[in-house]
Symmetry: T
Subunit: 67 residues, 12 copies
């Protein structure tokens, strides 16, 4: 059977790491979406305050299966 | 009158061809969305089993008109 | 607190300028979406009739905060 | 002997497949141009009507030898 | 009927805006070419003299229908 | 268990279609390589003779699992 | 005589237009730098508040001649 | 003496982090290859199950010196 | 008030992680620059010795506000 | 006065160097075109026979002023 | 007959020129590989010591015919 | 010890070759900057007068070590 997926684009943030920023975005999205299957990192950025990195930001695409 | 479109990203699959994978994704999306107007191919991939191509996968963006 | 954003892709049009095409797309999207925070221009195109530019078209991504 | 080629950019269309859209564009170009030697696919798009793919569109570059 | 388009690449300039630079390039091209249908912005640049922007330059592709 | 894959880059050709060019490249590679799992299309080109498309060429990456 | 240029990357903002955002960035840079000769637009973004575009942001590279 | 390097493309996986996925791929490759000198990250992806990130996947190129 | 930022490009290194390599680069830059506001990851690389990853290297752009 | 340029794409070849391949392509184009003003290198390739580089090939865009 | 090629990625170096760096990489690869047919330049870099360019480095892909 | 580098972007010119244009830019930059370690070619362009190539222009990034 041919399957179809939809991709959505998310931005996640974390004060710790990009991996945590990804987990945060995926878990937030999973609150309202079912069938999330994979993700792809699109961009990595972050915020600086007083000369320190205070936030990691990740832009990612997540794919979910359409029923 | 100025028009506005929304673009969505889809992944379609087919055991036959990329054209069929595109048709499958568009027809699946059209079950729940009206006003689909055009699409753009973003990526072409596929699955291999036992040294044979068993699935063509296409990532595409489809645009639909917002009322 | 870690925030999560969703990005959507829009196409706006205007007979005047790209800035107006962007405003048209954002204001149309804001009719049904809350929490729009920023946008990024992805592509600039346009339509020609009888050797004259008759429409500016802009493809953009807009990010909205997920509650 | 050093050879020089010129590349032109074409858009071909077909209701059937991308291969046919390419053939249509090359054969149309060959009506007025001689020495076409190779082509490169740049973009693949298409048109949707009533939730069905009704046209495949291919953007390609074709190279022709300058005498 | 399958249609074929040719794309040409142009550079337009204006002391006012990118929209005017686009219009200038398209109108110049339309003096000798018929069937111009759409354009795509490829690059935006400009010239600076004495610390002031004195010219906006736009690189664009324009498509024309082959008969 | 963490898996590792190697990606190789191949060019396949066919007088018929891109799908057949992909199948030709994968089946040729499978003569000497085991564990091929997926592929990604990188580039699509072709050859023209006497104004006709005579060959479709596809550049693709194929991934194989390392034991 | 062979010349050498240095390119710097700037972000300009304006509530009005991209052209004004470019002029703002170039004029700010010209307060401390001499010999600015040309610029290239790298990215166009903007800020949204209450569903309205409130700021246009442009990322650009500007080149200045080294004496 | 002029040196020559070969670059290979690998995909590494880890349930923990991208750094561990890179280490896994490099150490696997080093089982059979000598002279690995540097790597470049090409793509970062991952797998989702039941709304949780369960695997980080990294595509990388690694360079090895040819004797 | 319209603001202007300057972007600089940095390469940071760490034996531990990309996050630490980013922090190292930003903190080094902050020794001599004020007003650093955000960063964007451009490239991720690393060094290999005796088949082990011994250094993570990150190329990033950092933006600072011009007074 | 606003100027308009047209860009054409050429492929030049040389057995010696990329600089000579560029010169060959430009001089060939200049036989039939006036007003060539600048060029941009798009791609560098070459041909190998019996394990030796026998030809350098350069793809370039050249801009000419429209009267 | 349909042909299949494999592409490999190489890095060549030379103290003289990019052309020589390419020739060095191809001739090194030809010591162990037969059927090399063409190459494509991917990246050009170099090394600096005491303010002088001391090495040109070229990353290229070379294609060889699979029997 | 973790090192940090800064990358600057330069444009060099030469009437002879790209290698000489690179050397010119690096040697000019080295007049005022210490610790230049490597460079990367970003763009290659040139100037044409009376149908002849009269200048090669190279855009490059050069990295210098921060103390």
């Amino acid at each position: 059977m041919d399957r179809t997926y939809k991709k959505i684009e998310l931005v996640g943030t974390s004060t710790e790491s990009y991996e945590q920023a990804i987990r945060n975005a995926i878990e937030k999205a999973a609150e309202t979406l079912r069938g999330l299957a994979w993700f792809e990192v699109v961009e990595q950025r972050g915020h600086i305050t007083d000369g320190k990195v205070v936030e990691f930001q990740v832009v990612l695409k997540a794919a979910l299966k359409l029923d």
